[in-house]
Symmetry: D2
Subunit: 342 residues, 4 copies
Amino acid sequence: MTAKIAILGASGYTGAELVRIIASHPHMEVAALAADRKAGMEMRDVFPHLATLDLPRLVKIDQIDFSAIDMCFCALPHVTSQQVIPSLPEGLKVVDLSADFRLRDPGAYEKWYGQPHQAVELQKEAVYGLTEFYRDEIRNARFVAGTGCNAATGLFSLVPLFSKGLIAPEGVILDMKVGVSGAGRALKENLLHAELSEGWMPYAAGGKHRHLGEFDQEFSKAAGREIRVQFTPTLIPANRGILSAAYVQGDAAAIHAALSDTYQGEPFVHVLSFGQVPSTRSVRGSNMVQLGVAAERDQGRATVFAALDNLTKGSSGQAVQNANLMLGFDETEGLMMAPLFP
Amino acid sequence: MTAKIAILGASGYTGAELVRIIASHPHMEVAALAADRKAGMEMRDVFPHLATLDLPRLVKIDQIDFSAIDMCFCALPHVTSQQVIPSLPEGLKVVDLSADFRLRDPGAYEKWYGQPHQAVELQKEAVYGLTEFYRDEIRNARFVAGTGCNAATGLFSLVPLFSKGLIAPEGVILDMKVGVSGAGRALKENLLHAELSEGWMPYAAGGKHRHLGEFDQEFSKAAGREIRVQFTPTLIPANRGILSAAYVQGDAAAIHAALSDTYQGEPFVHVLSFGQVPSTRSVRGSNMVQLGVAAERDQGRATVFAALDNLTKGSSGQAVQNANLMLGFDETEGLMMAPLFP
Amino acid sequence: MTAKIAILGASGYTGAELVRIIASHPHMEVAALAADRKAGMEMRDVFPHLATLDLPRLVKIDQIDFSAIDMCFCALPHVTSQQVIPSLPEGLKVVDLSADFRLRDPGAYEKWYGQPHQAVELQKEAVYGLTEFYRDEIRNARFVAGTGCNAATGLFSLVPLFSKGLIAPEGVILDMKVGVSGAGRALKENLLHAELSEGWMPYAAGGKHRHLGEFDQEFSKAAGREIRVQFTPTLIPANRGILSAAYVQGDAAAIHAALSDTYQGEPFVHVLSFGQVPSTRSVRGSNMVQLGVAAERDQGRATVFAALDNLTKGSSGQAVQNANLMLGFDETEGLMMAPLFP
Amino acid sequence: MTAKIAILGASGYTGAELVRIIASHPHMEVAALAADRKAGMEMRDVFPHLATLDLPRLVKIDQIDFSAIDMCFCALPHVTSQQVIPSLPEGLKVVDLSADFRLRDPGAYEKWYGQPHQAVELQKEAVYGLTEFYRDEIRNARFVAGTGCNAATGLFSLVPLFSKGLIAPEGVILDMKVGVSGAGRALKENLLHAELSEGWMPYAAGGKHRHLGEFDQEFSKAAGREIRVQFTPTLIPANRGILSAAYVQGDAAAIHAALSDTYQGEPFVHVLSFGQVPSTRSVRGSNMVQLGVAAERDQGRATVFAALDNLTKGSSGQAVQNANLMLGFDETEGLMMAPLFP
């Protein structure tokens, strides 16, 4: 069987990444591509690197015949997703890559995103797309809400540790170094090459980053009590990748053992030997997460490092992984490409 | 059938790129990896990005049981190839990625490489690995010598034009902007990040680059007369890619038509619309070549642009393409991955 | 004496570079900064790297009291310059950094810029700002039009050769590799880090770049006959610098001798030893030009390489150099800072 | 008065940066340059960007006539400094840029550097070169030991806070993102452009970085009790700059007030408005430090950010600042150059 795929919001980086992955997927085929402002254009004019693929022309969403679609990826901007997804045919399988349906609590949504949620009922149906922890729900889901890319990076590092009570619930600090593609193809001054190259700086400092909403939700759920971590991202002069350091109080060896145990057999999560540290260059373009644990010199303190590609495991690769489950395919189908280095 | 693959010189960038490609190849399997100085190490310690692949340990060449090998890729340094390949079992299929067997004329070899060739007899057997122009010979070959990465870029641009007499034989200038991975993993000062980032400069200026030997050989063959072009590469602060501008005298429209015609149906060579220019970001990590033609304002002058990924189409992807032919596989098997962008 | 300086268009990169240079200039002081859309802002909010300088607040042009200004730098966008400069007080010394007053022939202006010139009379007064060749006119000028950054790079390479008849007038090709800051702080997709890093491509290919107007004008004047060169720039993933290769027919040794002779004693033009090639990293942040000459293997062909920093010698440094002359200061005042490397 | 300067170890990046700074210093003149392995070479062959400066030829240290030298900068590798400096003429003013004389306690030195100190007596004389905190001692010193570049970044952030007891003594975490020039011009695989570009990773994780010795010493001294912080650096694909996040427990507003107060009037330390964050691009090539403070969402937690240029304020600029004091010059002489951006 080949599943017919629609991608809404195909003119952004996560849209292009979905196309890249699906192009090598043995059981998926791009059947429709939508991008409102670029409707009518050929994909090769929006993304010249996709010029040699045989792809449908970009259309408006309402021009898609969804009866012929098996899976719909929504790579639309935040808020737009809330407006579009409720209008899609009932029963259509959907993986949303936006932030709109990640937070279960409408109050939390409003707090982090500054406005009331417009599709509260639909939100109740959404399964959180962190595959390794919601595999069964996802397999049976009609609608999955993909995680934030930073959120995924932190969750892989710490969910098993909060679950097992291996780290102190307070004082956890997540410091992430993130490549620029996570900010999308937006025309913003700080994303210009001349501004970013040789210039790195924190953003959303002081607990302002919206992915904190996901951390609060998932860490609290894992720990069975309210957890509030600190999170500071730094924008790095590079395109793909997130490198995270999670500073925790806990026994480093026990932490390493717990992560190794949790992810044993996981095809996309690789725990390095104790003391080894991950690098973004080891995951670029792949669906892999690398985790490493180092003991700090003060007993009872450890650092958990994680690296993943924000566009792949952090977004579009994760989406395909979830879609594989929802469509009854092997979870790894189309996702075992090796990283690109150098 | 799954072909058992040996890679000699697996600790360099072209070796790693072979492993990356073969990891997704449906009919190839890495059976042996050799790297003299790193024999005994695991590949994951040499290339952490390959850590999640199931790969054999690095060994010395003489530890490989070649009777179980269907195809041997030699990614050894120049000169070493000459010494190693003659000692391999007779009949073993070999694709060499070094410069050692590209030049048919031992005199030309000595001129460009500064020393007499040590395996002149074997050289006679080597088929030049520019697949699109030597497809039949390669299909029947036991031993193929891969092209230089810059050479390939220039040859795709100009061989059809010299063949058809569409450009003046004199005054052709090739100006290439090349990423740093083409220089390999060597520890040289000019390859350091601190030297190269924000610092670009020509090298081998004044007709000194060794790939001129390949240009002389192949362009002269195509034109049926001696051709000597100029070639100046510039090292660019980037990792992967070659962008070439070939300045020629000829009719731009006729040139574009001839290239379009020549490469019609070629799976890996894409001729852009007249006036469009290629970019390295459109080919990164893929086996594609992009060609573009622009008319200059003075009638009778045109520029032919080309872009490819030096590690893929310029080297390891080309090698797998040739190996596919030599092993009776579909030529595109394992090579249709889309480019990685951004 | 300290000259009071006004900078119009202070919110762009050339404006910021003027401020950087003037900050260390012993005889200049920034007295007024104008930027229409950002009027009212502090410079530190537009350019945080200038936060520790004591600078006036940004204002609108008509808020400046020009009676207190000794020199006005116009770093405004093209076309805007034509509208603003005629309205400045008569007699005010002005150095324009835009393209508006570089071309003496209104017809050439219209051809390259696509619209009639709006200040033809003022254009007649403008002295072309290539200091090393117009020093005397500049010293006595009220109004100087700075050169294009690519134009400067090519002119330093070839003007002496055309003047002395050392190169064939036809078939000259200029291939330039340019950093992204030359495109300014504009919000364009191709200037985003994610697009440019690892992605380089030609632009304005096929004789479309506007600096060709300057080449035509200055080369023809130098040669005493009409000269039309080819020029292709490639946008490089780096911030500052232009590296140019000029492919010419002529005797390389004679060319090197002529350049060495011409620039002997010039404080900002450094001719490398014969065969050596320049690098952008040797000029970054400085007002220096580096020139190198290589003989090609075919007798009678040579390549002239040049490197300069587009924001300094190619624009704002050149402007200060000219202003020094116009104000009666030593030409090198404030401009002898060494390059920043790495 | 013009001070005659000798630079030992002039072939490294800190040596080149000293030359760059001194080239614009009104009261210093490079009188001697030593580099053992490159003795006999011209500086322009070691650092082409310095080609246009009038510099002495590189010699061996024992070829220098120190009787004509007013100030000697030692930019030698660690350990070598210990061997060379004791042999210099008594009374010669020396600023050492190596790690050899930073730690007052020989036991601490042995612990962090893995071998006994070879010049324990001389160590006693060394003044720690953090100018803003040791200004009086430095003014009267004969021998100053420059700080580590990461050390300086962390010390500027936290010394006033430990001094005033504004932060909890335990659990302080320093997470730094550092450019590659801090690793010097060494030929190491991880410093290659192809490895580092698009590949960032932590190093010396788990409390192994030697600058922890400086943190322990200086923070403990400031706090009046033993302080042991955590410190994790991440190598970033960029050349110049350190960006530090210090995660502390304390009142953010009080912290901001204390830093503002401490550095009021300091020419090289700029405290941003509360909530603003620094960027490396605001300090590149300058002697400035930028500090910023953000309140975390959990009361009682704050983050102190700092940015400086590792080669300037973190090393060679700091060295000149100290030398200015030792020679009786104005502390800011030659150091007020504005940052280079973009």
